[in-house]
């Protein structure tokens, strides 16, 4: 009895040797990180010419020392009697430390910083002493937004994106139903249909810029089947004469946004399709058979028996489509850069343009636009989290 008690006390004691060694390593690492390593030193040691070149090696040295320091800190904590007694309460925080720290630094804190920038007028610069050069202007930026026609165009386009992008969900379902058969080679077909989603949006944008080109694009080719003739001109070259000129979709301020959304739908439909294909895999055959016995066929079967079972897939498809619509940036940047006449701007692109676009450095104003976009997204995020919370309560 006494022996086991002694065992227990020994088990929960702080092991001073372990803590001592760990603390020493930690101290040395901190010292190096804070005082010794700086860019100019590395530059001298490695004989690098410009401050620019030295930054990457310095970075890796810093990361290496940081990792050693983290390891030492971990070793230190596990030696403490406090840790030994409260193992289950402390360990999750040790596991979380790195991820949560990085996520806070790069994602959570910046959200609040951006919101605070939106109340200032600032061009993003610091003066020579490293002091901030902006000024606090309260709600001024938001008042400016209210009277900015470009802001309204962007907002209107964002709503267009949201509405039309939703088409990806039913079309994706339709293609999934079409492909949900078992014939030879159907797996290859499924993956080929999924193809557009894997391709970068920049490349999709470029493909469609070319497809929409009124002189030699894919669309003008179809157009010429109906409205154009090829004629040989005086010099002997083949020229195309059209009774109605092919439209320049991206050059026209009334059609450009629709053109970009159509291009964006291509990968998004593929994404929704794959979600539904997986969902269809898990539709219970018993219920479908039961439905058949009740005389349900075709649309009726789809609506009353299959779709309710596809609810989780539909939910995810709607969520990713909303997020995709509100995040649309790459396509606009590659296809029109917001033009013609700002008609294809969305909040995401307009913010970028105002904050770091050529000749403008309106950090405060840009942050105000970003804040509006964030608030719109927050509606969806809250809904998503609410749904997740419900599931968690039920599930566990």
């Amino acid at each position: 009895m006494t022996a086991s008690a002694a065992d227990l006390t020994g088990k929960f004691d702080t092991s001073s040797k372990q803590v001592g060694v760990a603390a020493a390593i930690l101290a040395v690492c901190t010292l190096i990180l804070v005082f010794v390593i700086d860019t100019s030193l590395v530059q001298e040691v490695l004989g690098l010419a410009r401050a620019f070149d030295a930054r990457v090696p310095t970075f890796f040295i810093r990361v290496a020392i940081l990792i050693v320091a983290l390891g030492a800190a971990l070793y230190l904590v596990t030696g403490l009697s406090y840790y030994k007694r409260n193992k289950l309460a402390v360990t999750p925080w040790l596991f979380l430390a790195i991820g949560l720290g990085l996520f806070m630094l790069y994602v959570i804190v910046p959200i609040f910083q951006s919101i605070s920038y939106s109340f200032t007028k600032w061009d993003g610069l610091y003066d020579i002493n490293g002091d901030w050069t902006g000024e606090w202007v309260g709600l001024h930026n938001y008042k400016l937004l209210m009277s900015d026609p470009n802001f309204y165009t962007s907002l209107k386009n964002n709503i267009l994106w949201l509405l039309l992008y939703m088409l990806a969900v039913p079309i994706g379902l339709f293609i999934a139903l079409f492909l949900n058969q078992t014939v030879r080679g159907i797996r290859i077909y499924k993956s080929l249909f999924f193809f557009p989603f894997v391709i970068s949006q920049v490349v999709v944008g470029l493909i469609f810029v070319w497809a929409y080109n009124p002189q030699f694009g894919l669309l003008s080719e179809f157009w010429s089947w109906f409205f154009c003739d090829n004629k040989v001109n005086i010099v002997g070259n083949l020229t195309r004469v059209c009774s109605v000129e092919p439209p320049s979709i991206l050059g026209n301020e009334h059609t450009a946004t629709y053109g970009i959304i159509a291009a964006g739908l291509w990968p998004q439909i593929a994404y929704c399709m794959i979600l539904y294909l997986t969902g269809l895999n898990n539709v219970s055959p018993d219920q479908v058979e039961a439905g058949q016995l009740d005389g349900a066929r075709g649309w009726k079967m789809l609506w009353h028996v299959v779709l309710p079972q596809l609810k989780p897939a539909t939910f995810i498809a709607v969520v990713v489509t909303v997020i995709g619509a509100l995040r649309s940036f790459d396509m606009i940047a590659t296809m029109t850069q917001g033009g013609p006449f700002g008609s294809t701007n969305v909040l995401a692109y307009y913010m970028y343009d105002q904050a770091v676009g050529e000749g403008v450095g309106r950090y405060g104003y840009g942050s105000a636009i970003a804040t509006v976009l964030f608030l719109i997204m927050l509606l969806y995020i809250s809904y998503f989290l609410y749904r997740m919370y419900q599931d968690e309560k039920e599930g566990h």
Partner: protein, 283 residues
């Protein structure tokens, strides 16, 4: 199975389906096919209007060689690898730790913190843009590849944590409890017991993150200006401005940028789809 399987349909329907399938696929991938044809045709074809017919000469090797010779495409591709591979390792590694913590330990903050990761994963990039630029400048990492990697890893940790936590949550908890009873340390349980069990999740996440980062455009434009450090997505867009009307080169470069994720998808299809469709089968 829905819709009704082909075996139960008329033979006419069967035939129709088998004909419709390749035709539908052809139209679905038409933009891609067309751009591929453009990338292997001589520039003269486009000028004379032969944009869709059989190329007058197949210049597959010539055109792609010209892209590498005339541009920094190779450098861009290497840069993209230098960005996406470390990000993949870092974010998936971090997520194994955070996902484990949030799934296994029942402490008061487990659910709020999990929701914090999920919510952060969905925010628009623009709300992060300016502060992230400031942080990068302060850490002396602006305009460098490691700077971009740090940000990507931190941001992707949100999605990866969502994925990992749900995956680990589905493991039988009794395994961990019995290991604890036998006196196995918490870190040993993670390393010896849980990590081998989540290998499929790690594979799925790696493929997904690699593709996401490979295709990233926004953050590369924001955090990197130096031309020699740009990834291929930004590089291709720049080429678009330089090669006005040289569509055979632009399309070849675009296809080069698209190729690696496509190959990866075909090789790792099962993992890729498992990752993307997480949650599509259950609430």
């Amino acid at each position: 199975m829905f819709p009704q399987p082909l075996e139960k349909r008329s033979s006419g329907f069967n035939l129709g389906y088998k004909i419709a399938l390749p035709i539908a696929l052809f139209f679905w991938l038409l933009p891609l096919l067309a751009i591929f044809m453009t990338s292997i045709r001589p520039v003269a074809d486009i000028a004379t209007g032969n944009v869709f017919g059989i190329p007058s000469k197949f210049q597959f090797i010539e055109n792609y060689r010209e892209v590498f010779a005339k541009t920094d495409a190779l450098q861009y591709l290497i840069n993209t690898l230098l960005i996406s591979l470390p990000t993949m390792v870092l974010s998936v590694g971090i997520a194994c730790l955070t996902g484990y913590a949030l799934a296994i330990y029942k402490f008061r903050w487990a659910l709020p913190l999990f929701f914090l990761f999920v919510a952060g994963n969905f925010v628009p990039f623009q709300i992060l843009m300016l502060p992230v630029v400031n942080i990068s400048v302060k850490l002396d990492m602006m305009n460098t590849v490691p700077g971009l990697v740090m940000f990507h890893s931190a941001f992707q940790a949100g999605f990866c944590t969502l994925f990992m936590r749900n995956f680990i949550k589905d493991l039988p908890f009794e395994l961990i409890e019995s290991a604890r009873l036998e006196g196995v340390g918490e870190f040993q349980i993670f390393w010896r017991l849980v990590l081998p069990l989540v290998k499929p999740a790690i594979a799925a996440l790696c493929v997904l993150i690699f593709t996401f980062i490979w295709n990233d455009f926004f953050w590369a434009t924001v955090l990197i200006q130096e031309d020699s450090r740009l990834p291929i997505t930004v590089g291709v867009r720049t080429l678009n401005g330089e090669f006005v009307q040289q569509w055979h080169l632009i399309s070849a470069a675009s296809l080069l940028a698209a190729m690696p994720p496509v190959l990866l998808f075909f090789l790792m299809q099962k993992h890729f789809i498992a990752g993307l469709t997480l949650g599509a089968t259950k609430g």
